[in-house]
């Protein structure tokens, strides 16, 4: 499955240059997927890969979706004692030509305050907001609660 970020080309062409950052038009978002939720009280999760095809770094500064009031990027880290915790990432930088993977065990989109249950087989729109003001909107398929990857 290949879900590509939608370019906001016109906007990029119209704006004047100064702080050079890549944005939604340069970032290809692939392999997006979510796990089904049980109701709406537990947070949901989404994973994807963001590939920066541009010549400048891209910075993700936010997310937006009708599915959840508070979508945010979290990082899971495990310390030397084996304790795993999550922290909110206010921004995620993707170097030029590099990719950032949001995948089980590491970075993930945490969908807090779900507005309706996430049902296996359905999908929802998620917009990734970049520091340059552009956005890339993708359609995220919802897989089973026990899914392990985008093709599982």
């Amino acid at each position: 499955m290949r879900l590509f970020g939608i370019a906001a080309f016109a906007l990029a062409l119209l704006t004047t240059a100064p702080p050079v950052l890549a944005g939604g038009e340069d970032v290809v978002i692939e392999d997006a997927w979510s796990r089904a939720s049980i109701g709406t009280s537990r947070p949901g999760v989404a994973y994807m890969t963001l590939q920066n095809t541009g010549a400048e770094p891209a910075v993700v500064t936010g997310l937006r979706t009708n599915l959840a009031m508070m979508p945010m990027i979290h990082a899971s880290t495990t310390d030397a004692q084996g304790v795993t915790r999550m922290s909110h990432m206010e921004e995620v930088k993707i170097a030029a030509g590099e990719a950032v993977a949001l995948e089980p065990g590491g970075l993930h989109v945490m969908l807090m305050d779900l507005q309706h249950p996430m049902v296996e087989g359905e999908s929802y729109a998620l917009s990734v907001i970049f520091a340059d003001g552009t956005e890339a909107t993708i359609e995220v398929p919802i897989l089973g609660i026990a899914a392990r990857g985008p093709s599982d």
């Binding site: 009031m69 979290h74 899971s76 170097a95 590099e98 990719a99 089980p104 065990g105 609660i145």
Partner: protein, 212 residues
Amino acid sequence: MRRRALLQYGALGLGAGVATLFAGWWQVDGPDAPDVSNGRPLPLTAMDFAMTDHERQPVGPQTLIGRASLVFFGFTWCPQVCPTTLADISHWLDGLGTEADTLDVVLITVDPERDTVEAMAEYVGYFHPQIRGWTGSPAEIARAAEGFRVRYEKAPLEGGDYTMNHTSGVFLFDAAGALVSIIDYHEPREFALPKIRRALARSPSEAVSGTG
């Protein structure tokens, strides 16, 4: 406002011709993660706690004596580590097939406030049928965590909710209740299966009853 987390990504090569992937694995979190076994669980026979499983049966460490077991801590409000671990374990069990029929698999919650028996039952029902969910009073969970040398703490989320930080390893015991090994979160399946087989092999075939 929370302090911005400073990130140090470990770069992972993703095969020939593919751009380097800046994966979300920390150096402490990836394949080179340090061994967390310095605080190893006690033998099950040295533990003492009383809980309820997701079918309302009274359970405790003695429930796991007689068959090999796989025990891990988590909570059902967890969107990331716990479903990943549960999905991995379901996958391991599928991979082992009938070999794993005599393995007891238990998720012990670190969040008894939200993880009632009903919540546990609903949640584990989505994964492999062999997986059991145990919950209990905060005091009993603290006693269990002490025996397993597990740490956990409540952590506030923006918006008033909370999440739980907790030890994410999976503990493998033999039928006598001795620790065989720990499967670290993230460990590839090909490392996990031999460990589970080792725990099963150390089990007496004349497994006594009393398992969940």
